[in-house]
Symmetry: C3
């Protein structure tokens, strides 16, 4: 690739500030920028690098105010991060897939669309239906009666268990397990447990992305549901009968216990735990490492802590947690002062 | 399936209350019940749904007291959850397995019983022994000298490393890694580390279930042991030389560090961390997200917190943690009042 | 194996104290020692077992002072744990690998050295380069243009995505995913998100070990870097553009968010979370379950808590957290006493 600042500005619908003929042949991060490369400023935290970078062209916000002279050419856009996404998608090159690599195992009763790609060592069980333009990488396991919607990509080594339904335009990363048994046991005589069979399934709607080694368990009865546009990071646990609302984003290593229903447009940090049978309102924000023990009924609030509560009082308490030795000192002094008063 | 309430009551040894000829053809959750379906009430939290559900028949506890009129037929049983487990096991249909799917890779020196099933692309190394009625799904790796007991099921993509012993009636879910190296390094000259080879193994006793993507490391020397009836959820870390006692249940994403010995009948919540070289008494309960830093010597106690201590004082402290701003205010006022007194 | 105490002392450069002709034929842990076996005392916590063990020979520190009579022969060495590592490496027997097991899938444009071993059902994509003496176990996925340095071992079911570079003498355990997409989304019109393509890669330098089911995401732009000698335990999350410095050790289930730079020789406990875009100084120690929310600028300090701060004040506050009910009582009493004084 070799583009001028002007060409890139036209792709992005942005304005050039500086030399429109400046050429770039690669993208670099602003803290690592090199001459002849394009960089971008999406996170204000990195603004100081704009004055020192040796990159030749930078994509910045149309509202950015410069505090110092700069050496490079700017392309001003409405949303630098979204513009970056657009540029990167032009550059991205996923490995090509052949239609069918041998050996793979496809049941005679499976339906595989004519333009789907199935990688070597992948396994498509009976009754499975693989949509148009689906790309299945090697070592993927698709169990009985699974359906995979059009344009979905399933990376190497994902396991999709029986009766799972996956929508269109989804991305399932390596090592993901969808539809493993939920964790349910009924106490038996003595201290043994009987397994409660898990006869439900998992439904993944359209435009969902599921990160590496994340696990989504099948429902005991009914369905575990991941709704349209949800993005799950790596190593997340989603238990049986959970329901995650549209466009909710969940960061890595979070665990959601059985039958909990999470609203739309929530932002859930990393390593969060949410206990079972709760309802989390639309637009909730949960800080990383929080433990949510009660339903969140009011929408668009934020919580922190384990057990979690509203983020502002949580942080107020945490400031005082750090000052506990000082508070104790003050109590000690009060007691001593009172003793003196009483002794008078 | 199509059953009358009376037929189901006979299967479960329960009593019909209402119309014994009411028929059902599916099971639904009580909050989603539809006409013509059977539902159940196992968690008292959902009792209100009993009065509004449109399901036709419900399995409930023999001790349930009705506060309002109901429209559906009840089947009263001793333990609704256990009755549900019984019914579901009649309905469950795991994917069929053929005896041997091609291609699979079986060492000439491995012993595979005549009625075991080996899925396509599975790998059975030399010296491995696969018992009667074992079902191995596709993409499973069984390394050298592994033994798998009768009736055990190993789902797609599990990895069982050399010398692991797995008992009878176990269920190993997708992506599980058993017998990976323990995490041991000895400081070398400078700041480098030398790997401590891990020459022990893992022993999984009978009736153990291990959830998706859980990791159980081999012992440095000796064995990491998961005893009879233990149930491990998804994404759990069990380090080298850990020993987990009979019928202990561990929820998802918990981590147990090296050489820790956990008693029988413990209930360990999700995202718990337990440091190495501890002993946890029989019947211990550990709340989710707790960090256990010291051995628990007294049986059947409960802990919470990070680091954890007894749950009752923990929760008492946590209530006051939330009130720290108020406590600080009271200290401020005391100081002001004392100042006034001293000024008098 | 059958060795005398003297032979072992010579291998380790140690001194025999007791019977140099005492023979042993196995290694046991000191709390489980049996006659005819060699044991070791590396953790002072286990010293009492030295006086009761029935093992025949023990490796101990040259500085160990005996408080009681012992029955076994000692071999005194400078560093017992390192000596153990040396002995175990003589005993360790990894499964043999054949050069090429069939079926495997190797692209004609891949370069596989003559003495590398490729397990059955493994997949080597186009442009990949596999170095000398590399051992690749079954079910491994090596995507396009991946390079694997000499002597590296990749266990069953690891997935290495396109353009990843792996150095020499690395160990990649089962279920590891290297080079999955970073988790980046740009808000779109309404509440939808657009995926930010991840066009960078992952670089793993020499002598790195990566535990089972750990995930290391590719960079958005540039590289996610795991530097020489780093040891990562199981089920760890390393996000896009993270950089982990030399010889840093990270325990299981820790998560490191995007673009964070971790120094050399750090010790990071289990289940730690580190937020994105931070810098962690060389030699930092982070206690298990901590949540690091700010950069750590001073080297060789220790932190604890969520959010974390210096370990000493953290623990001081935690002692008082446990005493909050007592502090509240004291405030109650002060208020009562003041009321009495004011009433006077």
């Amino acid at each position: 690739m070799k583009y001028t600042a002007l060409q890139i500005a036209e792709i992005l619908g942005g304005q050039v500030e500086g030399n429109p003929d400046e050429t770039v042949n690669n993208i670099t991060r602003i803290e690592e920028g090199k001459p002849g490369t394009l960089t971008f400023l999406a996170n204000p935290k990195y603004t100081t690098f704009l004055y020192s970078t040796t990159a030749s062209v930078a994509i910045v916000s149309k509202d950015l105010v410069l505090d110092n002279p700069i050496k490079l050419t700017l392309i001003r856009v409405k949303d630098p991060y979204r513009s970056l996404a657009k540029l990167l998608s032009l550059l991205e090159q996923l490995p090509d897939r052949d239609r069918l690599e041998e050996p793979c195992w496809i049941s005679p009763s499976a339906t595989v669309s004519k333009d789907a790609c199935i990688g070597a060592f992948s396994y498509i069980s009976k009754g499975a239906k693989i949509g148009n333009n689906v790309r299945i990488f090697p070592h993927v396991y698709i169990s009985e009666n699974v359906t995979v919607g059009d344009n979905t990509v399933i990376f190497a080594g994902a396991r999709i268990h029986h009766n799972t339904q996956i929508g269109k335009n989804c991305i399932i990363h390596s090592g993901v397990v969808i539809g493993g048994d939920g964790f349910g046991f009924a106490p038996q005589t003595g201290s043994d447990f009987t397994k409660v069979p898990q006869i439900g399934n998992v439904i993944i709607e359209d435009n969902v992305e599921i990160g590496s080694n994340t696990c989504i368990d099948r429902a005991t009865i009914g369905s575990t549901i991941i709704r349209k546009g949800v993005k799950l990071d790596n190593l997340i646990q989603v238990a049986h009968n959970v329901d995650i609302g549209r466009n909710t984003i969940v960061a890595a290593q979070t665990g959601i216990s059985g039958s909990t229903k999470i609203g739309e447009n929530c932002l859930i940090g990393g390593q969060v735990g949410i206990v079972g049978h709760l309802t989390i309102a639309d637009g909730s924000k949960i800080a990383a490492q929080s433990g949510v023990g009660q339903s969140i009924k009011k929408g668009a609030t934020a919580q922190q802590g384990s057990p979690s509560f509203d983020v502002i009082p949580y942080q107020r308490s945490y400031v005082l947690y750090k000052k506990l030795p000082e508070l104790q000192d003050r109590i000690n002094k009060l007691e001593a002062a009172l003793d003196r008063l009483n002794a008078d």
